[in-house]
């Protein structure tokens, strides 16, 4: 039973990772850029909510109404000032410039807020520990379930946005071929800026849930980036629903690891990531070969 419980908690945790990863996956899918400052920007959003809650007694969920548009604006500016210019200089420059940005953000937050570990849990009433008990003594926390639901909604929303809206069509066009898209009247520059803004909206929400479900400090941005990145790669880079799957695999691996060894939480997560990486490189090649043989025989 303890294992069933660990797996269920792992799946719920995976929802949180998917939430954290969907912006990274979206930007990678659309622009081919991996934003190293992704995690640090989530921490920036968390601090904004913390200041609103701590000094103005604003409930974090209400606070998001202000923080989400601010982060969208941050995304737009980020694209105009940093990403656009770096992307033009080649595929390696965005890594360097966003890494520099992450260092600036982390240390700036440290100068303003100090090393204290913060959390938004005290500002959301009992939601932090409310739970339902299922038969068999399985405990489902309300907040983890809400997080999971929000992740699914966001991923579904991004999916619909890409498939069903005019902006989505423009984004897809600019993804496939920016130059041709430009010829038929799509302003690729504006489309990319909008995509970055959308990614930052998801980052703001992810930062809020990180701060509500656990703690944060100025230097956890790197850790958050790594989790998000692992979810994206496990699920298949650039695929939105794959990201949900990747998050769940990561979450389940971590919670099973934690059950095995006190240090197992992080080790199991990284190990699963590397194992899947290796498996993808070697097994899929053999699988493809196998299927090709099969298809030939069938024909």
């Amino acid at each position: 039973m303890i294992w069933v419980n660990q797996i269920i908690q792992g799946i719920l945790l995976g929802g949180y990772y998917a939430l954290l990863a969907c912006g990274l996956s979206f930007m990678f899918g659309v622009m081919g850029i991996i934003n190293i400052a992704h995690g640090s920007l989530a921490v920036v959003a968390a601090y904004m909510l913390f200041v609103l809650a701590d000094q103005f007694q604003v409930n974090p969920f209400i606070g998001l109404i202000a923080v989400v548009p601010i982060m969208a604006l941050v995304g737009w500016v980020l694209h105009r000032l940093v990403l656009e210019r770096s992307a033009r200089a080649g595929e390696l420059v965005p890594i360097l410039s966003t890494f520099g940005l992450a260092i600036v953000l982390d240390n700036s937050m440290f100068t303003h807020f100090g090393a204290d570990t913060r959390s938004l849990a005290p500002y959301i009433g009992t939601l932090d520990y409310d739970s339902w008990t299922l038969p068999g003594n399985l405990i489902i926390g309300k907040l983890p379930l809400i997080t999971f639901a929000v992740a699914v909604l966001l991923l579904g929303g991004l999916h619909l946005l890409l498939r069903r809206t005019a902006l989505g069509r423009r984004i897809r066009a600019a993804t496939v071929d920016p130059d041709t898209a430009q010829l038929v009247g799509v302003n690729a520059r504006a489309v990319y800026a909008a995509a970055t803004a959308i990614a930052m909206v998801t980052v703001a929400i992810a930062g809020a849930f990180q701060a509500m479900r656990a703690t944060f400090d100025p230097y956890i941005g790197g850790q958050l980036l790594i989790f998000a990145f692992e979810a994206v790669v496990i699920g298949g880079a650039g695929s939105l629903w794959g990201t949900l799957f990747g998050g769940i695999v990561l979450g389940v691996a971590q919670s099973i690891g934690a059950q095995i060894h006190p240090q197992g939480f992080l080790i199991a997560g990284h190990a699963v990531f590397l194992v899947i990486l290796v498996a993808r490189l070697y097994v899929t090649r053999d699988m493809r070969h196998f299927f090709r043989l099969f298809r030939r025989r069938a024909v």
Binding site: F28, I33, I34, I36, V82, R85, S86, A89, E91, L92, V93, P94, I95, L96, S97, F99, G100, L101, A102, I103, V104, N107, S108, F110, T111, G222, L225, I226, F229, E230, V233, A237, Q263, L266, I267, H270, A271, F273, L274, L277, V278, L281
Partner: protein, 355 residues
């Protein structure tokens, strides 16, 4: 080689008077540094040891990013493992200074299987993938009871040496490592591997199509870089004595390497050396300000990436046409040099590996 032997008007040359003089000066400086302990104060010896280690890191990161097109945010994995291997080997009874070298060799061996799957990742995926490797290495080292988790341990075997001897040995070890790796990278880049690596950096598919062995070249540079970073880590623990996993596996080392190489000039041979000296100076001047200093480093690296991607030395090369330690060839048409800003650098395509 000559491009058009019939005219005789076009010549290709590698050496210039300035570059021969520079090689001479570099050799002389290295000899002088080797005798440094005769006339330098203990404090200066320690500081130069630090500078040499920074130099090794800059050289190695540049070989990886500037020549093989592999931007890594996880070279601290090898830095930390190098220090850890030295402690483990010294603990097993191997004399400390040989243990530093042996540890780096072992880490290079470990990096070989890592390269098998990491090198299949591209650009940003490789960068963060290496960071994951560093995190995992950190966690696994923490499991070793010898290390005491984050509390860390010390290279206690160093106590066998008197403080003065230890300082000199570490200084010489750091100098020798930097000089050896410096010349090794220089000679490698001037040869076949250099042409192959630069072709890969500029366009991997095109390089592959003309017969460059992409994966083999990348792997060689990756393993060399792992060895160098591990040696730097081992030397760092010899200089600092204490080993705290968090400090050695910190992503800050990557930030330092990126700063040195970007500011100095990525993809140039001289740039990272200049970058290491600049970083060393900046740290001596502002290191005490702590966080503000780190913000400055990050901002500078970002601005260089955005506005001056060739770095200081890259700009010097472009504007003044200096080639002090040439790894490419210079093309001259007619009796006179081309106007400097037009001078064509044929970056060793002539050496492209033939199959």
């Amino acid at each position: 080689m000559s491009l058009r032997p019939d005219t005789g008007a076009i010549t290709v040359k590698r050496w210039t008077g300035a570059s021969i003089a520079t090689i001479g000066l570099v050799l002389a400086a290295q000899v002088v540094l080797a005798f440094g302990p005769l006339f330098l104060s203990a404090n200066l010896i320690d500081r130069l040891t630090t500078l040499f280690i920074y130099g090794i890191l800059a050289l190695m990161w540049n070989a990886l990013a500037g020549y093989a097109g592999l931007v890594s945010i996880g070279q601290q994995a090898f830095f930390g493992l190098g220090a850890y291997a030295a402690i483990r080997l010294a603990n097993a009874g191997i004399s400390v200074y040989p243990a530093l070298l042996l540890g780096a060799v072992l880490v290079a061996v470990v990096s070989l299987p890592i390269s098998a799957f990491m090198l299949r990742l591209r650009a940003g995926e490789f960068a963060i993938g290496m960071w994951v490797v560093a995190e995992l290495a950190h966690l696994l080292v923490n499991l070793d009871t010898l290390i005491n988790g984050e509390t860390g341990t010390s290279l206690i075997e160093l106590q066998r040496y008197a403080a003065h001897d230890r300082r000199l040995y570490t200084y010489w070890a750091a100098l020798a490592t930097m000089v050896a790796l410096g010349w090794l990278v220089y000679l490698m880049l001037r040869g076949r591997l250099g042409s192959a690596a630069q072709a890969i950096r500029d366009n991997e598919e095109a390089a592959d199509s003309i017969g460059v062995r992409v994966l083999a070249s990348k792997r060689l540079i990756f393993v060399l870089s792992a060895f160098g970073c591990a040696a730097a880590g081992a030397l760092w623990v010899a200089a600092q004595i204490t080993f705290q996993p968090k400090a050695y596996f910190s992503v800050q080392w990557s930030a330092y390497m990126i700063f040195m190489v970007l500011v100095g000039g990525i993809g140039t041979y001289e740039g990272p050396i200049l970058g290491a000296i600049l970083f060393f100076t900046v740290e001596a001047l502002f290191g005490a300000t702590g966080v503000a200093y780190l913000i400055g480093l990050g901002a500078t690296a970002m601005l260089f990436a955005l506005l001056l991607p060739r770095g200081i030395w890259g700009e010097v090369e472009r504007r003044l046409g200096w080639r002090l330690l040439p790894i490419g060839y210079q093309l001259k048409i007619g009796a006179e040099d081309l106007p400097r800003h037009d001078s064509v650098m044929v970056t060793t395509q002539a050496d492209a590996p033939a199959r």
